[in-house]
């Protein structure tokens, strides 16, 4: 059974990205309507819009939260060839009891790209306040705020040029058993049949070096994500391409004491159609993949460490007639499609067999 809460986002066009803060209590959405909205979950579990502003002069593709030790900081990237860093500032208290007003201000526009900025991600916090962007011209840029109290300074630390246009980027979340920090980027270029996922390592000479391309994945890649890593001995990268891939990466040392990566990709074809997005849960025991067929699939790792699709959620365009088909019982949620307010309902699990 699921409890469902429906939120009318009130964006004027499709949402391209939804991001949650470290605790899952704040939500940021960005859209083709060129605006960003920030939502807060109240004590009763309702999501209330707390801010919205026009952030770019083109569609906003991606949004990402910084770790809370850097404050309330967002970064967005857009078709308008820029990425922007936003910080929420607390205004003066009006009265002693009232909560102070908060608003988001643009701290920096990162305008080095000459093409659409396709993805932006903050680095894991042990690297400091750092972020990476990818753009359609194939360049990865890494920026850092050297003074975390002053977010108006974001010098470019590195530029990594690639031959193929890039669609997505992800930082590895730990360096366990590895000699360096890893960064993965994917390309959605369709003409060539070479590997579309690239792994970069931060070398001892303080440069980012492309160490590997995952040759199994030659189809366009639209999203990838390193899994959070609490206590695992290897690293996992989920890749959305023509199929879903889960790539296990291990650092190995060969006879001459050189470290290199042992990369093993497993393909999951359950979607039977291209996969657009991937998202891990916080312990990397579950994964959501977005198919092209109007379905998301939820994957679970079982106790033998194998991944299995545990549930499928599909979108219905309209209310079903009163003949529920056997293998897709439609939820009993009563939210009208035009509802402006959230409604609560529940979906029942068809596999839940009666116990009595």
């Amino acid at each position: 059974m699921f409890e469902v809460e429906l939120i009318s986002a009130d964006h004027k066009d499709v949402i391209h990205d939804v991001a949650f803060d470290y605790y899952g209590r704040r939500m940021a959405t960005c859209s083709s309507d060129q605006t960003v909205k920030v939502w807060d979950e109240d004590e009763k579990g309702n999501w209330i819009e707390s801010s919205n502003w026009k952030a770019h002069s083109g569609s906003i593709w991606r949004i990402s939260w910084a770790h809370p030790e850097f404050g309330q900081v967002l970064v967005t990237c857009s078709f308008d060839r820029t990425a922007s860093v936003w910080e929420e500032i607390v205004g003066e208290k009006v009265a002693s009891l009232s909560t102070p007003s908060r608003r988001w201000v643009r701290r920096m526009t990162l305008d080095d790209s000459r093409t659409s900025v396709s993805d932006v991600k903050f680095a894991p916090k042990y690297l400091g306040l750092m972020l990476a962007t990818t753009s359609a011209d194939g360049i990865i840029r890494i920026y850092e705020a050297p003074d975390i109290m002053n977010l108006t300074q974001w010098p470019v630390l590195h530029e990594i040029a690639n031959k193929l246009p890039l669609s997505c980027i992800s930082w590895n979340t730990s360096t366990y058993m590895l000699s360096s920090q890893l960064l993965a980027a994917g390309s959605d270029e369709t003409a060539t049949h070479t590997g579309k996922v690239f792994i970069f390592a931060y070398s001892e000479t303080r440069k980012w070096v492309k160490t590997d391309a995952i040759n199994e994945i030659t189809q366009p890649v639209t999203d990838l994500a390193f899994a959070p890593n609490p206590g695992r001995t290897f690293h996992m990268l989920a890749v959305a391409s023509k199929d879903l891939y889960i790539v296990n990466i291990r650092g190995v040392t060969d006879a001459s004491a050189n470290t290199k990566l042992d990369i093993q990709a497993t393909k999951f074809s359950d979607h039977n159609c291209p996969v657009w997005r991937v998202c891990w849960n916080m312990l990397a025991t579950m994964l959501i993949s977005t198919g092209d067929d109007g379905c998301v699939r939820i994957w679970r790792k079982n106790y033998t460490k194998d991944w299995k699709c545990a549930a499928v959620i599909k979108a219905e365009g309209s209310y079903p007639s009163y003949e529920p088909s056997l293998n897709s019982p439609v939820m009993t949620v009563s939210a009208a499609a035009t509802a402006k307010y959230y409604k609560k309902g529940s979906i029942s699990n068809p596999n839940q067999v009666p116990w009595h």
Binding site: V4, E5, L6, I7, S8, A9, D10, K12, V14, V18, F20, Y23, G24, M27, S31, S32, W47, G58, E69, Q72, V90, D147, M149, P165, E189, G231, R232, C279, M282, L283, M286, I288, T290, D293, G294, V296, Y303, A311, I313, K314, E316, G317, S318, Y319, P320, N327, V330, M331, V333, A337, A339, K340, S346, I347, N349, P350, N351, P354, W355, H356
Partner: protein, 677 residues
């Protein structure tokens, strides 16, 4: 297998089906997910408003798997079971059978207490005419009733084996608890005494007792009959009394028992076929049941709803010494007989989940049992606790090449999932910790991570989490929370708090950042932000050289304000010499020396005055030149050190300083030489 197909759910969202759109999902926290319509984008997508712009509603669906433990009654079940779980872990797999039995019974009594509370809740919901609550509690009862039933049977089969391995007497206990009707009737009738036999329930109760193998109670009831002294009743009593029973403790050998039984059975059957009891059909029926008469039992079977209802009773009269390993076969034989008589085609037998689990248990198919009980809508409470108990008692047996290893993995993964699901729930996170604490390295890592993910709103909550992190030795988690709290305070302009939290984090870099912030603010405004906190830092200042500088500078600032100029001057000179002055602070520090230098009676000696002059020329002047050059190149950069809140122009500062030094030097030299002379 049907269960292995993923479950399919549907959400209604028209925007998902427009053009080439689809549905996408994100994890929120725990197992909560957010779904929304998604438009595929590639790096050569052109930017234009979509055809649905402004037409279809843009929706976000928040989905959360139902969580039963938000209910107060079930919450107390989780809490009580948690302490039993902890007690079980303390046995460290070396407990005695009696100790594991005690744990198992404690779990079960917690469930039973919970069932009673749920019954009361239904009653009060009925009174309040709250149909939703009634249905909810009814559902919980059916879940936890099933759990108790399966747990009880597991306890009998796996934790409480008799020395002889015979299971029948315990199965009778189990069935008596779960089908208590006859026993209840019998209790009422026994209270009626001599009038019992007039009651309509008298014979049904007797038959029910016999069907459940409760021979002694049945005899007691027979004694109440007014005709108890007649030959027929006496004969019946005699038959029941002489019925041999197989001792659980294996006092009689099985061969001896079988021959005794056979003798008794032949004798009894002979009596029945001689029609001795024909004039008392009620009594004859009872005896026919006791002898396992096929026809008689078949008639009874047709009246049952559950396949296992009369199974233990039948075993009692036909295979009293049945051992655990024989139970699976016996159960299957009985089940097909039951299905045939009930008119089910055994291939299509629609068994309910509970029926199936009971069969799997009797077949000793733990793999199937664990698989099935995971589907209970109890958020994995039962499967986690039962598996863990069996594992601890050394009774968990599942198929697999590497058995022992598999069992540990299974048990650990259940604990991991259950613990982490509790930890991502606001009010239950402390209970969840105990489960993660007992499932190895990965559990510890998850615990450290999830601890930092608990959304704390107040300082008190933060301190509580930190206290736990300290106990567990999660240094990083503790540090994270302190830094987050520090940044939060800073944003809220509670600077003293921010500094205290930063110091608590013991992160040198972070403390330096905050100290920098305070010094910077001071050098720009002349306003010391949190004097009380700085004054009380004490030895903790050594965490960061910058903090040492801040504290020492603050001491100077205090002396100066109290017009205690001599120690102020001494401190200032020390600071200038300290080599820990941050670049940006040089102008401020040197400007501070001007009034001391200009004092009519010199506060600074000639040697030290020279030193100040030296710092001016070797530190500040090059710094200014560097900054000016940089500004030529990057005119947009903030001018920082070229400006002070006291004196606008840096050139003026340098001139003033040089002059002050010269004047003080002359005064100091005169006085020093005079005194010396």
């Amino acid at each position: 297998m049907q269960e292995d197909q993923p479950a399919i759910f549907a959400v209604v969202d028209p925007l998902c089906s427009r053009y080439a759109n689809t549905l996408t999902g994100q994890f929120v926290s725990g197992s909560k997910i957010a779904l929304s319509a998604f438009r595929p984008i590639t790096s050569n997508t052109r930017d234009a408003p979509t055809e649905s712009a402004g037409k279809d509603d843009v929706l976000i669906h928040m989905l959360q798997p139902e969580f039963v433990f938000d209910d107060p009654i079930l919450r107390s079940l989780v809490a009580e079971a948690n302490s039993t779980f902890v007690a079980l872990q303390e046995l460290k797999k070396r407990g005695s059978k009696a100790e594991y039995m005690k744990i198992s019974r404690t779990y079960r009594s917690i469930i039973r207490a919970c069932l009673e509370k749920l019954q009361d809740a239904i009653a009060s919901a009925e009174e309040a005419e709250d149909a939703d609550a009634q249905a909810k509690y009814q559902q919980y009862i059916s879940i936890f009733y099933s759990i108790e039933c399966v747990w009880h049977l597991s306890e009998i089969l796996f934790l409480d084996p008799t020395p002889s391995n015979a299971v029948v007497p315990q199965l009778l206990d189990w069935i008596r608890f779960h089908f208590p009707a006859s026993e209840r009737m019998a209790t009422d009738l026994l209270l009626l005494g001599r009038e019992a036999s007039d009651n309509d329930d008298y014979w049904p109760a007797l038959k029910g007792l016999i069907l459940q193998g409760q021979v002694d109670v049945a005899r007691a009831l027979l004694h109440l009959h007014p005709q108890a002294e007649t030959p027929h009743f006496k004969l019946t009593d005699q038959i029941l009394k002489t019925m041999p029973t197989y001792s659980m403790h294996g006092a009689t050998s099985i061969q001896k028992f079988r021959s005794l039984w056979q003798y008794w059975l032949t004798d009894t059957e002979r009596k029945i076929s001689a029609n001795i009891l024909a004039i008392e059909p009620n009594l004859e029926e009872l005896i026919q049941l006791v002898t396992g008469d096929t026809q008689m039992w078949n008639t009874q079977i047709q009246e049952t709803e559950y396949w296992y209802e009369f199974f233990p009773g039948y075993l009692f009269y036909t295979n009293n010494a049945c051992k655990h390993f024989e139970l699976g076969n016996a159960a299957n034989t009985w089940l097909s007989r039951w299905a045939r008589l009930k008119g089910h085609n055994s291939n299509e037998l629609q068994m309910k989940q509970l029926d199936r689990v009971i069969l799997s248990l009797m077949e000793n198919d733990m793999h199937q049992v664990i698989h099935a009980i995971q589907l209970m809508a109890d958020n994995q409470w039962f499967v986690t606790h039962l598996t863990d108990l069996l594992y601890n008692a050394g009774q968990l047996q599942i198929a697999g090449e590497n058995q022992v290893n598999e069992c540990i993995k299974l048990r650990d993964s259940l604990l991991y999932d259950f613990g982490s699901s509790l930890m991502t729930r606001n009010s239950l996170w402390q209970l969840g910790m105990d489960y993660l604490d007992h499932c190895g390295q990965e559990g510890q890592a998850a615990l450290a991570l999830l601890l930092t993910k608990i959304p704390f709103r107040t300082e008190k909550q933060a301190l509580k989490i930190i206290c736990i992190a300290q106990k567990k030795g999660f240094f990083e988690a503790e540090q994270d929370i302190c830094k987050i709290q520090s940044k939060k305070s800073l944003d809220e302009q509670r600077y003293g708090n921010a500094l205290e939290w930063a110091i608590r984090s013991k992160d040198t870099l972070y403390v330096t950042t905050i100290a920098d912030f305070l010094l910077n603010h001071y050098s720009k405004t002349g306003d010391m932000l949190c004097p009380d906190v700085i004054a009380n830092i004490g030895a903790k200042m050594f965490i960061s050289p910058r903090l040492v500088f801040l504290v020492k500078y603050f001491d100077f600032y205090q002396f100066y304000r109290k017009r205690d100029f001599l120690p102020a001057a001494e401190l200032l000179v020390n600071l200038l010499e300290s080599k820990i002055t941050p670049e940006y602070f040089w102008p401020s520090l040197l400007i501070d020396s001007i009034p001391l230098l200009e004092s009519k009676d010199p506060k600074i000696l000639s040697k030290e005055t020279c030193a100040i002059l030296q710092h001016l020329e070797t530190e500040l002047v090059p710094l200014i030149d560097k900054k000016k050059k940089r500004l030529e190149k990057y005119p947009d950069e903030p001018i920082n050190i070229l400006k002070d809140y006291r004196i606008e122009n840096i050139e003026e500062i340098i001139n003033l300083l040089r002059l002050a030094c010269a004047r003080n030097l002359s005064r100091a030299i005169i006085i020093e030489n005079t005194v010396m002379g």
